[in-house]
Point group: C2
Chain length 414, copies 2
């Protein structure tokens, strides 16, 4: 009936676990249309196939000129230019430009070969259909963006292991790169266990609770770029757990189990996970609240994480341990920091030295800036999170936080 | 050829525009499975149909007892209890409890009717199959969570206009609420214009550029909960613009146009938008860089936003003006703040008084905390954003930022 856990600080457990996973990681890739690759991780570095801009462009409306022809021009002593044409948008600027000649050009237009600057329209005056006065001098390449000034041919657009955001997608498309090789989405098996757990569409009988973890974890996995594979609910039964793990191992890159609460289930969950292959259970017990009974294991190349059954604990641990694993399995080179908000905590918070505490909190914007109001209740269940904007961390080397102290609130995934 | 803009501060423009949109807003709703509603906005407040927990539960493993029977118990003077049964997980606790009797119970188990506390297993010793010693007293309801302690029947789970995150979804499922009424996704028509613009899969000829805005804006709209309806590219032609707007008006809740760069296009874009219906163009010109030529209009109930053609400008303005509009059109009660990171800016940045500047920046984590390194280049195009983690704002009442000054970096959507 007793359960001996050797409690490890969560940061150390995370580092150890990610290292062990990285050591055996084998990533698969797929080719996707660039427009569908937002949120995915680039499997190869991509270099620019041509410079951008592809040609030197005007950055203002005005007249393309040879800069040296404008030197000395002023309001009192304008320079006179002959208009010899107009650069149409989207067309080559094939006009030949002789000294003291100007070509009408618009923002984004292609500079004629002999021009090396643009005089802003505001600094000119048309004096006939064919002639303008220019009131200011321009220096070489003023009001232009040079061919290759955004990116040179061969320069990297995106590095291997980088997340493709909307803006990276835009950069790739600007260069005509319409397909991209990305790492496959990790398939994440999700298993809820417990004799007391029933599906959400069931009426509950006395003693029963509805499954929440399968769904909150699926949503989290999806938002992190993984593909959730829900297995459903199993009873507190060692053979059901064995069968479920055998089935999930064949189709998943990561398995999450929310453990049953019964003592027998706790006794055999680590054992059955250990059976799945070496190195087996690497961590059993985190020095954190919530989340103490967490199991981190590796069966061959497949990470298996045993999460607490309590929905709040399961979700909090998932944001700290499942998240970096899902990113690692996508081949990301740098795991993104969580979004945070600094705020003043409204009340004193106590914690046990040596233990890392996570407390749900509501963020309130006031005249004095952001306040973080802890949400209590011994329940510590899903409703506390549904009322929270984020989590306050009390680090393991603290025994608490004083009211009005500045804290970093880790925002919940939206 | 000249274009007169009366420049409005962006915050004021935003407030004015959202107010005008709210004044005529008509929202439609749909019923979705709760598990598919993450990221959507609740159209109705939802109250708990039953208390949670549905029954009083143990929060530890131990023995359910009558608290008063333990009073005075200590290591040196234990109290003796007779074990009269065990509460199975997932089953009703139908055991009758008489004085000095105890029932074995596990975390999450249902408390028997006559019990009002749980003694932790660690504070007991089994002295025979039928009898335990108890070494500590417990107070009434110690180590339990009461029926309704998470949420009472009739208490609100989620308010109208609230975004359903994974944790709200979990809260609804815990209560057996498997369907939820949400506001429909706004359909957002996206139109690129410009004689120089060609699709991304085209080879570019001198003078041409590939369309980026249609795709970055679609990705942004999708991430904000809208449904992008890409119209494609039109030439700089007043009749093509008229036809496109007519077509989009019939199928969209919001229209985004990235304007052509030619002067004629700029001259007629506002005019054609104005033709679409009253109140018409509300703002033409923002006192911001980038994004000065932005147009904010309302044609009947349909907002139309004219964005600059430059991909960086279009995206920056979209994150500040399209985002709150897409949220407003989903019926959200409180537009979420952008995710931010405070950091020290690495160099001096100059700005024009009265103008709000947005500068792409890279975030670098160092021993001294976060640094924000501005990304320059007169290009100011999509590659600058692809290299940036976020945007530094120089507010309109500043003429710049000093090196090492603390700034708030608004993170780009991932």
């Amino acid at each position: 009936m007793t359960e001996f856990l050797s409690l490890i600080p969560p940061a150390k457990a995370r580092e150890l676990y990610l290292q062990k996973i990285s050591d055996v990681l084998e990533l698969s890739t797929e080719i996707l249309p660039t427009v569908d690759a937002v949120g995915r991780i680039a499997a190869k570095s991509i270099n620019a196939p041509h410079p951008l801009p592809a040609f030197t462009r005007a950055t203002v409306d005005g007249y393309a000129v040879r800069a040296e022809d404008t030197y000395g021009a002023s309001e009192s002593l304008p320079a006179y230019f002959k208009i010899v044409g107009e650069v149409k948008m989207g067309q080559a600027a094939s006009i030949e430009l002789f000294p003291m000649q100007a070509v009408l050009i618009y923002t984004g237009g292609m500079l004629p070969a002999d021009a090396n600057a643009v005089v802003m329209i505001e600094h000119t005056q048309k004096i006939s259909t064919q002639e303008i006065e220019v009131y200011r001098s321009v220096s070489a390449w003023e009001n232009t963006i040079l061919q290759g000034e955004e990116i040179q041919r061969g320069e990297p657009v995106i590095g291997q292991g980088t997340k493709i955001r909307a803006v990276e997608m835009g950069g790739l498309l600007a260069l005509g790169i319409t397909q991209v090789e990305v790492y496959k989405k990790p398939r994440v098996g999700i298993l809820s266990s417990g004799d007391e757990v029933v599906p959400p569409d069931h009426d509950i009988q006395p003693g029963q609770v509805r499954d929440v973890n399968s769904y909150t974890l699926s949503a989290l996995v999806r938002s992190l770029g993984g593909e959730p594979i829900p297995y459903g609910i199993i009873a507190d039964d060692i053979n059901q757990l064995r069968n479920a793990l055998r089935s999930l191992r064949d189709q998943c890159d990561l398995i999450l189990i929310t453990a049953g609460s019964s003592v027998s289930a706790r006794d055999y969950t680590a054992k059955v996970i250990e059976e799945q292959g070496s190195p087996g259970v690497l961590v059993h017990g985190l020095n954190t609240r919530p989340g103490k009974p967490t199991i981190l294991a590796l069966a061959g190349k497949i990470p298996i994480i045993g999460l607490p059954g309590n929905p709040l604990s399961a979700y909090v641990i998932a944001t700290h341990l499942v998240k970096p694993v899902v990113y690692t399995l996508q081949g990301i080179s740098k795991i993104p920091s969580p979004h945070t908000q600094t705020a003043r905590v409204t009340i004193n918070l106590n914690s046990q030295a040596g233990r890392e505490d996570w407390i749900p909190a509501k963020l309130i914007f006031t005249d004095e800036g952001w306040l973080a109001e802890p949400i209590f209740g011994k329940s510590n269940m899903i409703m506390a999170l549904a009322r929270a904007d984020g989590l306050i961390c009390i680090p393991e080397d603290h025994t608490g936080l004083a009211a009005h102290e500045m804290v970093t609130v880790e925002l919940l995934e939206s």
